[in-house]
């Protein structure tokens, strides 16, 4: 002992690495349209533009390749692959499969939610809807789903859903606007929150299910329209989702 114990932070031993920052930069680039899907890029040039060496850039891109967001082609470069309607439908199916049981578990474990985080977030959503603050609304929406997953206490589920979110953020960002009213989305969340808070597992699952299906339908229809592939959204839905 030397001194009264300074009670400092564990001092994030995790100095943010260049790889992580590159990862975010690439995500941002995709989101803002700087990186065009389908186009061929090279680690060399990207590293140069970001002002770092090739190693962290390569590491970051390999991580994205792991989840299918980018695609490496040996001796040629890499491409950003954004999910088409089929991929989107698959992701929706996964979300339904995982988040509905998660909602049930959340209702079951509601006692763990010490500080009523769920209600807090929902109220923030209400507030954002009232102010027509769409970015904020989207953000709180994500957060709400995140809180429910946390309550379900399954880190693998959290991880999978996180990566899916990563892949869909680009697709879904501009979808709500125009096609659905913020309030419509809001009221869908209410029964979920109520059921979870009441500890009613069955109802929580049911509410989550209807919510995901509704938004899924909209997302899918929108994606099909946008990409102009010959896909029929109903047929896709029928084939991949119950």
């Amino acid at each position: 002992m030397t001194v009264p114990t300074p009670a400092l932070q564990p001092l994030d031993t995790r100095r943010v690495t260049l790889t992580d920052r590159t990862l975010n930069a690439v995500r941002e680039g995709i989101r803002t349209g700087t990186l065009i899907p389908g186009e061929l890029y090279s680690v060399y040039r990207l590293a140069e533009e970001l002002g770092v060496s090739r190693s962290p850039v390569r590491d970051a891109l390999l991580r994205l390749a792991e989840t299918g967001i980018v695609n490496f082609e040996r001796n040629k470069g890499f491409r950003v692959v954004l999910p088409g309607p089929k991929e989107l439908a698959e992701m929706i199916a996964v979300r339904i499969s995982l988040e509905v049981p998660a909602a049930r578990r959340a209702a079951h474990n509601i006692g763990l939610d010490k500080e009523n985080k769920l209600r807090t977030v929902y109220e923030a959503m209400e507030e954002a809807a009232k102010n027509r603050d769409e970015p904020k609304f989207m953000d709180e929406d994500q957060k709400l789903h995140g809180v429910i997953l946390k309550l379900a206490a399954n880190s693998y589920v959290e991880r999978v859903i996180d990566t899916l979110r990563d892949a869909t953020r680009l697709v879904g960002s501009s979808t709500i606007k125009g096609s659905r009213d913020l309030n419509a989305v809001l009221v869908e969340h209410r029964p979920i929150v109520e059921a979870v808070l009441a500890g009613d597992a069955v109802e929580a699952g049911r509410a989550m299910d209807t919510h995901l299906r509704k938004t899924g339908r909209v997302l899918l229809a929108d994606a099909v329209k946008r990409t102009e592939t010959g896909h029929d959204p109903n047929e896709l839905w029928e084939r991949l989702i119950d």
Copy 2:
């Protein structure tokens, strides 16, 4: 044109990279016990042992770290983290959530199974059980689940389950022996196969559900006993799975 077209193979352009081979080597090392979980290793030494440079080793380990199988500690090394009872329970929960709907989809899409792969694999399982050939049996078991996932036609689900398998293979490899008869496991699969082949979605889901729950229970109980943590398997099950 020069010659009658020799009709050669497309010659897999995908030269197996050192990273991939390292990946397999590490998996193998974990499986065979050469790499001890919890122990501290270094990329340097591992690269030297494998006779390659640090880059592909690092790439491979980063990929494993992505899925949580190994854990990097800055300036110290990396550890192999094998899943404990809690993690195992989480994985079982994910498998139930994803594979039960997948079985339903598979029954729905059974028309796509042109060559009766499902029946072929099941018969191979029967054969292996008859011969008491456990490794073969395990292998065909995996394959059977794989075929069902393929029929469900959702690549994301396939990917997630694949990584889970990767993480659980070590845990589950020695479990069956002694605790369950091969035939007992076999007969659990029969109703699944029958239902899928008959196109009975509801029954396929039900059968898959009971199968996964039964084996999950056994796996979990075994893991708890083996690790000697104070966990209660029933409590874990109750908390993470329905």
